[in-house]
Amino acid sequence: MTASQASEPAGAATPATREMADDPDTTGDEDVLLSVRNVAKHFPIREGVMQRVTGQVRAVDGVSFDLRRGTTLGLVGESGCGKTTLGRVVAGLETPTSGGVYLHDSTGHSPAGLGSVSIDRLQGRAARYFRRNCQMVFQDSFSSLNPRHLVRDIVGRPLKVHKEASGTELTERVVELLEQVGLGRQHLYRFPHQFSGGQRQRISIARALALDPEMIVLDEPTSALDVSVQAQILNLLHRLQTERGLTYLFITHDLAVVRHMASEIVVMYLGRVAEAGPTEALFADPIHPYTRALLRSSPDVAGAGDATMQGLEGNVPDPARPPMGCRFHTRCEVATPACGWEIDDVINRLEDVPGMFDELVGVERRSRFDADLVFDDDTSAHRLADALEGAEVPVSMTAAIETVSVRERAVSIRFREVPEVTLTVRGGGRRAACVLED
């Protein structure tokens, strides 16, 4: 079992958790608009005719952060890290498996204590409050606008749903909104397909603004756009934030964009927060090795032309069976024996060595750190035992082995048991989930 989330009762009076409570900067802060507390979203894997649940994809697995009023928080990470799922949970499109999303009004208490209730099932006042104040802009502006609706109907729909306006008044409100995003009255009666990608994204933004929300979840809003159009949209978002005091949750994979837009950044890896902190500090001096890998892989237009881009070895592990300890340890260049080396790593690291596991007949696990690997002959068993000390595995992995013994055809391996590596406070409002000190 992974060290678990949801030890806190959902909807507790104070949303602070152990993790966040350590950080005086972010608890009981009146400036906080949105609190995400221990949010997990697991998707069941179903198999067979009976559709039995055989596992859980842990898309988001215990994430907490605060979003301050009028600021932009950047949520970054690579595909499959859970950033989009988390954005959908915040926008109320997915029910969190555990944990909660709390939207606070200016007095600091949460009128829409979401707990783990889907936004579809939110009732009455709380639902209306949440919907009015948390909107979303999607990446694909083709797909996010109904092709059969006119711009007036698309942008005016929130007003209609919340019975704010109708008829001529609605039209005038829509014109106002269109003008705010750089479009105009002449665009009212057109269909989405008559616009370019940038213009369609402006229409999406106008729709999100219609209810005058406190915050907007921006899910890769410019990733499908050309750079010159991206600049227009980023400028627009920036201007709207200044004018209306909007709060953004900005989800993106583009580090240059997020650095430009966000004052705080949360870096996600495999469903968890790897590192979080103020943008400048995080970019100037990344703590987590994953953040460092991301930064040195991202080409920067102002950077030197001959700087090398290194990238990362290996693949992202299976989110249905995330690694123990620190989830990044399987690809980390500075991994230590305390990072959570486990039996799975033995197999993953050595499966590319020809013939290593050809004679393997079974694995008897006592825990994820402790197992017997049974072979068909004792040569193979000895070969594996030797390999565990060899150059094919990282030194830190070898060092993490407490005992390894060969009994006839079985290799018994026990790794040091390590708890899950959690976020720790690093000063300057920074948090990182790494066993290494700064």
């Binding site: 499109l93 996010s144 059969r148 006119l150 729909r157 929130p158 057109r190 370019s196």
Partner: protein, 317 residues
């Protein structure tokens, strides 16, 4: 004027002065788009041919009492002229000749279109309604409900259409009403399947999520976002089935599952079949030709609609 310039695929922009003259109310924009659609449907000559055929056949069905005097007491039964048996076409009383039993082929052809229209409209409206409801519920609600409904659909699909309809009609006894019932029982599954697939595809569009974020209710999201974007293939299929159902209906009545002597094309073909070997071709040929024309007409129209209405080609225009 900077709008109207999709970067990927430049489309022609009407001159600015024309744009200024155009009406700017939603209804008129919609009407203009409808007219555009109609124009592009009608720009295909084969579609127009199909449409003409369909309209002519429908006119014939509606005007049947005007074209020929209705038989009394039951106009759906063929009149029998026992004094003119197996008269060849061209005789003044019987333009298309008569059958072995003195049935007037012309009367059968004309009133048969009425029977066919009734058959196709009834079957298509019942099956489309049931199919769309079942498919929508399965696709939109998903989960267990979907599982259960789709297993039921699978059971229906595992039996060949014609044989299934034949079995039902045979059990219920020879009557045209039972043919309608049998076809309705068999055909709804097709629409349920099409609709479910469509709903699941459309549901994945971000505009459905966008509507949820706004706070719109599931019922309205279904009505405004899902249904209009999902229904097109059903409409096309229904148009084609208007023709196909008559074909199958005629087949069933041909093998004797309708009342004897009914003014219906399949019955008439069956009646004339015995005479073909002795050179009396007319009693079977004319109603057979009608079935062919009916099926052809609706299939041509359906094809033309698909080319224009297909959401993929529609977006590109």
């Amino acid at each position: 004027m900077t709008s109207f310039v999709p970067v990927e695929e430049p489309i022609p922009r009407p001159p600015d002065d024309l744009e200024a003259l155009l009406p700017t109310s939603a209804a008129r924009v919609r009407a203009r788009r409808g007219a555009e659609l109609a124009r592009s449907i009608l720009s295909n000559p084969t579609t127009v041919a199909g449409l003409v055929l369909v309209l002519a056949l429908m006119a014939m069905a509606l005007l049947a009492p005007v074209i020929t005097e209705p038989n009394s007491p039951d106009p759906a039964q063929m009149p029998r002229d026992w004094g003119a048996i197996a008269v060849p076409p061209g005789s003044p009383d019987h333009i298309l000749g008569t059958t072995n039993t003195g049935g007037d082929v012309f009367y059968g052809v004309v009133w048969g279109s009425r029977t066919s229209l009734r058959l196709s409209i009834l079957v298509v409206s019942i099956t489309v309604t049931v199919g769309v409801i079942v498919g929508s519920v399965a696709g939109f609600v998903g989960g267990r409900v979907d599982e259960v409904l789709m297993r039921i659909v699978d059971v229906f699909l595992s039996i060949p259409e014609l044989i299934f309809a034949l079995a039902i009609a045979a059990v219920l006894g020879p009557a045209f009403r039972n043919i309608i019932l049998a076809l309705a029982v068999v055909f709804w599954v097709k629409y349920a399947r099409i609709m479910r697939g469509q709903v699941i595809t459309v549901k994945q569009n971000d505009y459905v999520d966008a509507a949820r974020v706004i706070g719109d209710s599931p019922v309205r999201i279904f009505a405004k976002d899902v249904l209009p974007n999902a229904i097109t293939p059903v409409v096309v299929q229904a148009t084609m089935d208007m023709g196909n159902i008559v074909l199958i209906g005629a087949t069933l009545s041909f093998i004797g599952l309708a009342e004897a002597g009914l003014a219906e094309w399949g019955v008439l073909v069956a009646e004339g079949q015995a005479g073909i070997s002795s050179g009396r071709w007319w009693a079977s040929t004319f109603p057979g030709l009608m079935v062919f024309l009916w099926a052809l007409g609706f299939n041509l129209v359906g094809d033309g609609m698909r080319d224009v209405l297909d959401p993929r080609t529609e977006k590109a225009r």
